[in-house]
């Protein structure tokens, strides 16, 4: 298997991880899984930007800047997201969005 083909496969796999995270964020009705989807998507952007910077010759520094920026953003996004979830307090122990809908009624 050639190196170029392997690099393409790696980038496609990282794109797949990003898509899984994005769909989890949009489709799952439980709030924590939505946050987990965001976290997964950001992780894939970090890894993807690093590998893209390694593979291409042009402007790798900008991609590495993107990598570092998202790496710094990851724990902050997670902490803020968990803080919002916890402050809502209406999720109790079930972490279920359907319970939230009933409370609005």
């Amino acid at each position: 298997m050639t190196d170029l083909l392997l690099q393409e496969i790696i980038l496609v796999l990282l794109l797949a991880i990003f898509l899984v995270g994005a769909f989890t964020m949009l489709i799952r009705r439980v709030a924590v899984w939505s946050l987990v989807g965001q976290i997964i998507a950001i992780k894939s952007v970090v890894a993807g930007s690093f590998f893209l910077a390694s593979y291409i010759g042009r402007a790798p520094g900008d991609l590495l800047s993107l990598c570092l920026l998202f790496l710094g953003a990851l724990p902050t996004v997670a902490a803020i997201g968990l803080l919002v979830l916890h402050r809502c307090a209406r999720f109790g122990g079930t972490l279920d969005l359907e319970e939230e809908d009933r409370l609005r009624g």
Binding site: I10, L13, V20, G21, G37, K43, F51, L83
Partner: protein, 166 residues
């Protein structure tokens, strides 16, 4: 050969991500995200990430630790009742503090203090590019702002959260 190994690691990360996204159990979610973090971080490390790969693994695992601490605060996982709320709070703060210290120490020691370190960034092209682009003087200001935002988020999580009453 290393590219193939990187591909395998990322494939394992993808499977773990699918498990974490599709499961209904918090334990499987936690293990899925941890394996995803380890897979992606190790792939960066093997691909010439140097100490940056160590930093990536640490930050990813720190984020997963945040998730675990959140589940603990809700008694979702593990499902044990608290004996002492203050002691449990201190335990959570301590775990988070150890995680932060661990990744800072690991990254700094890998980069500077160990001679002939195979993970030393300057000999590896991607991290050498990182040094050229990132570690300029203007990025010190940006990293300071990022750290302040991070501290506010972490501090806010522990200051304003309320204990779940049984």
């Amino acid at each position: 050969m290393s590219e193939l190994f990187v591909g395998v690691l990322i494939f394992v990360s993808l499977i773990s991500t699918l498990v974490a996204a599709a499961t209904r159990e918090t334990e499987k979610l936690l293990w899925g995200t941890i394996l995803c973090s380890l897979g992606l971080g190790l792939s960066i490390l093997i691909s010439g990430g140097g100490y940056f790969g160590v930093l990536v693994i640490s930050v990813f695992l720190l984020t997963d630790l945040l998730l675990y601490l959140y589940f603990r605060s809700l008694y979702v996982h593990p499902k044990k009742k608290l004996i002492n709320k203050a002691a449990d709070r201190m335990n959570r703060i301590f775990m988070l503090w150890m995680g932060l210290c661990g990744f800072i120490i690991a990254a700094i020691s890998m980069h500077e203090f160990i001679e002939n370190n195979p993970f030393s960034g300057d000999r590896l092209r991607p991290v050498a590019l990182l040094h050229q682009r990132i570690w300029g003087e203007d990025w010190y200001i940006l990293s300071l702002a990022t750290m302040i935002i991070g501290l506010v988020a972490f501090g806010g999580f522990f200051l304003v959260r309320r204990e779940k009453n049984d």
